[in-house]
């Protein structure tokens, strides 16, 4: 029996299942008569698809069907959360290497794969757009359009398809060219790589169409969004589609919105049999990614160190389809000034189509790309102006209540508290680095728009024995949503955690939740759940008042019971009093949203996520290898709901950030991914991670979530790149403007230094 975690908190509610192998993921599910799908994928980055020759595949052992776009003409076989520009199977044109062209279904996965390899697709090649520069001047646009809106994400797109622009987003205030006296002006272009989310579980979906209803089990982060797309594709009511997400083996955005579910669904629809599609990791790596971006940054400082103006012009490579690109570039621009109060700004971002796999959401969408160059400038300014880097940042922090952007949520946290914690956690008494190494420290502050959609609903059922079951659809990706939601109920109802059950991640058995991402579950789903609990408490109070013959106002409900002057009853007694015998149950309901509900301020974000950090980085002067030896991550959580989960999110985000800073990059040649495995795409391993990660958090109780909490999970990935590259500059004097900065890059930079550092 395990009592508590070492920090004294209760263990994650899924911990024992996950250490014993009992936890079920989509790939672990089996249905009677289940068939297996494999995909025929485009080998061309941009081409007309002329024919699909599949007679050999159809005759291969175990093969049941080969499905192409022509088989889907009775359906509406398009998807996309923002615009419906993505065909389920390529129709007349393929737009990236790896785009699904046909589905081969067989009795075993191996037979499906073997047959897929002998399907022959005819292509007539079209001009390839392999970079953002060539996209803007391409003779042949990748998309002709126009497309219908996807209708799931409420964002109006501003495309220019002739120039391969999927969306443009601009914000401005004041005159950035009106320079103050003695201004320090910094101009640089910063490049951020395309990276893969690399959740350890590749995308998997299992669909069963029975002629009336569609059931899908999937690795989907947002089952309700997938349900809506599947219903439209098959012409069904929402009530006719169930999407269920069991445990998900990591998401980080790669499994957001709709990804492979339509492929499994249409195969099941064609065959009237259950069909599973399980991607290989190589296939997963061409299913989603983070946008690579080129970001021009101008920063204008007064001689006193005030950040006076910022110009950011950013070009994001969104790949072959829109996916969540428009939302990504919009959120990205928050990071162009936040967390600083800047008088004038001119911000302009475009999402550009190229013939590469579609880029979509990844942890803190768009933000690391824009943030790191901006924070590099802040550090550079501190040096040029002779001001301590923390002090310069302190002078510029936006105060609570300040609107960084008109009509958007004002700063809702006390940023100075986080900076104080960061400063206190620095360690200036470390041993000097070993001979042949140099060490530097870099800091960076971030504040990102978080929360995503305001729409969540939740139920809580109180059973006849006083135990409860929570129904909340947030999916468990590893972030600990199931633990956090149960902890909220434990705290509010005074029940032990063993008496709080949870049903999650299933559109049939839990009520609507728009999405799981954007650090929103504790804050937004949690708030809907607290409203459900309040609804339940109101009912309990009324029942207790009736039982005790007192006014409701004199009833207290807490710690597992109701009390009133002269009497008390536990929850089971109250349910029994309501129903008259040992049966029945009470149901509480909660909902957050925009519209009439107006739970949060309009304009967004729902809250600001605060992340501040410092990296101590050592560089080996012989090899160029950089190692983060000590990292401090500070966040503002508002209130602690489950401490170990907070730390886990922070440490994970830090190491993920080390990946895009020092090693990870998806490389394409003529649209073909040439880094398709861990040998060529280096995800940080245990020896790459800092041996010492210090985490601390502000808990001022001022967040918009339950008990004053404020979501975290994404923010800590944002300041990593700037912290490390600022440290590299202080250690070596190298100015990094392109990520990742690899060991080889650093070795060359050291060789090129005008005065080589002392070895």
């Amino acid at each position: 029996m395990i009592g508590h975690t070492t920090s004294g908190a209760v263990p994650r509610s899924d911990a024992v299942d996950k250490v014993t192998g009992a936890a079920r993921y989509t790939g672990d599910l089996r249905l009677p008569g289940m068939l297996h799908a494999a995909l025929v994928r485009s080998s061309r980055p941009h081409a007309r698809r002329s024919f699909v020759e599949s007679s050999a595949a159809r005759q291969a052992p175990g093969v049941v069907a080969v499905i192409t776009a022509e088989d889907l003409e009775a359906l509406d076989p398009w998807f996309g959360n923002i615009v419906l520009d993505r065909p389920v199977l390529a129709q007349d044109v393929v737009r990236f290497v790896g785009e699904p062209v046909a589905i081969v279904v067989a009795d075993t996965p191996a037979r499906a794969r073997a047959a897929a390899a002998v399907v022959h697709v005819g292509y007539e090649d079209l001009p390839v757009v392999d970079s953002v520069e060539s996209a803007l001047e391409a003779a042949l646009p990748i998309h002709q359009g126009p497309y219908r809106p996807g209708g799931i994400s409420a964002i109006q797109v501003d495309p220019d398809l002739g120039r391969n622009i999927a969306h443009r987003h601009r914000r401005s205030r004041g005159d950035v060219d009106d320079l103050p006296d003695g201004a320090l002006v910094l101009d640089d272009t910063f490049r951020f790589p395309a990276v893969y989310q690399y959740a350890m579980e590749p995308h998997t979906a299992l669909a069963r169409w029975d002629g009336e209803q569609l059931e899908v089990w999937s690795t989907a982060q947002h089952p309700f969004a997938v349900r809506r797309e599947l219903a439209r594709i098959l012409g069904l009511d929402l009530a006719g589609v169930r999407v269920s997400a069991p445990y998900i083996g990591g998401g980080f955005g790669s499994k957001s919105w709709t990804k492979i579910e339509p492929l499994a669904a249409v195969a099941s629809w064609v065959l009237q049999a259950p069909v599973r599609l399980a991607l290989t990791m190589q296939e997963a790596m061409v299913t989603s990614r983070r946008h690579n971006a080129e970001v021009e940054v101008r920063s204008v400082f007064t001689p006193e160190g005030r950040l006076h103006a910022r110009r950011v012009h950013a070009r994001f490579d969104t790949g072959a389809y829109t996916d969540n690109g428009p939302q990504v570039i919009a959120v990205a621009l928050d990071a162009a000034i936040a967390p600083y109060d800047v008088a004038a700004y001119d911000l302009d971002a475009v999402a550009v189509f190229t013939n590469t796999p579609p880029a979509g959401s990844m942890r803190a969408i768009g933000t690391p790309q824009v943030h790191w160059g901006c924070e590099r400038h802040v550090d550079l300014a501190a040096d040029r102006l002779g001001i301590d880097p923390l002090e310069l940042r302190r002078r510029n922090l936006a105060p609570r209540g300040r609107h960084l952007f008109p009509r958007m949520t004002p700063v809702d946290a006390d940023l100075a508290s986080s900076l104080d914690l960061l400063e206190a956690a620095l360690d200036d008494d470390q041993e000097p680095p070993l001979p042949g190494r140099v060490r530097g420290r870099g800091v960076a502050l971030a504040m990102t728009g978080a929360g995503g959609s305001p729409i969540s609903t939740a139920w809580i059922r109180m059973h006849a024995d006083g135990s409860v079951t929570v129904h909340a659809a947030s999916t468990e990706l590893g972030q600990g949503s199931r633990t956090a939601l149960r902890q909220l109920v434990v705290r509010r109802l005074g029940l032990p955690v063993t008496r709080v059950g949870l049903v999650a991640g299933d559109t049939r058995s839990a009520p609507y939740d728009q999405s799981t991402g954007a650090s929103r579950t504790t804050t937004v789903t949690g708030r809907a759940l607290m409203m459900a609990v309040d609804d339940l408490l109101t009912q309990l109070r009324a029942i207790a008042a009736d039982l005790g013959g007192v006014h409701e106002a004199s009833v207290e409900v807490a710690d597992g019971k109701a009390t009133w002057p002269g009497g008390e009853a536990d929850y089971a007694d109250l349910v029994a009093h309501e129903f008259g015998s040992a049966g029945g149950e009470l149901l509480g309901h909660g909902a957050t949203g925009g519209g009439r509900l107006a739970t949060f301020e309009p304009g967004g974000p729902l809250f600001w996520e605060v992340a501040m950090s410092a990296a101590d980085v050592e560089v080996d002067l012989e090899t160029g290898q950089a190692r983060v030896t000590r990292y401090v991550a500070v966040s503002d959580v508002g209130a602690v709901v489950h401490g170990p989960s907070i730390r886990g999110q922070e440490t994970g985000a830090v190491v993920m950030g080390i990946g895009h800073t020092l090693s990870e990059t998806l490389r394409f040649s003529e649209g073909q991914l040439i880094t398709p495995d861990l040998a060529s795409y280096h995800v940080p391993i245990a020896t790459d991670a800092p041996f010492e990660i210090v985490t601390d958090h502000v808990a001022n109780g001022d967040g918009p979530g339950p008990f004053g909490s404020r979501g975290i999970g994404e923010g800590a990935v944002v300041p990593v790149a700037a912290s490390i590259t600022n440290a590299l500059r202080r250690a070596l004097g190298v100015e990094v403007t392109r990520l990742p900065v690899t060991t080889e890059d650093l070795w060359r930079a050291i060789e090129d230094l005008p005065t080589p550092p002392q070895r």
Partner: protein, 162 residues
């Protein structure tokens, strides 16, 4: 002798203490045998090319990648998977410390991570932090940043070899 991939091969193997007599295709992997034949789905498939460590199980006490280790090579061996680690309802020390240290999030790498750590602690009585990280360097975790995992292994070490 290396069999032809179409050959059917008889395999007798003990898995988590239970003797199995199976007939497998020569190309069947250990992972397919475990997951599809024996329905032991605790061991997961991730990269499929022996690089990420997610599918690690112990064969005669040695960690192997089940995704590429052919099932016929298991003849006469003793296989231990995550399902067989707890005995008589008692969790293994590592399972306990992984829970206590919150050393898991999505859980997909967890079975392989624990099996690799089990092999380490069986081999070396008191590994240093550096040795622990080094032993785990073939097991990728994208969620935790490894921090809690290293603590959990160190904590199990201290409990087993104080």
């Amino acid at each position: 002798m290396i069999p032809d991939t179409n050959d059917q091969i008889e395999v007798s193997v003990r898995v988590n203490g239970i003797e199995h007599h199976l007939t497998v295709d020569a190309g069947t992997t250990t992972l397919e045998l475990l997951r599809d034949e024996l329905l032991l789905t605790g061991t997961k498939l991730s990269c499929g090319e022996q690089r990420c460590g997610v599918c690690t199980v112990l064969v005669d006490g040695r960690p192997i990648s089940a995704c590429t280790y052919l099932a016929y090579e298991l003849r006469g061996t003793e296989v231990l998977t995550i399902e067989g680690l707890a005995s008589d309802g008692e969790l293994d020390t590592l399972q306990t410390t992984f829970v206590e240290e919150n050393a898991l999030q999505c859980g997909f790498c967890t079975p392989g991570m624990i099996m690799t750590a089990r092999a380490l602690l069986n081999d070396i009585e008191r590994p240093t932090e550096r040795q622990i990280r080094s032993a785990l360097s073939g097991n990728i975790c994208r969620c935790t940043g490894y921090d809690a995992i290293v603590r959990a292994v160190a904590s199990a070490r201290d409990r087993e070899a104080p």
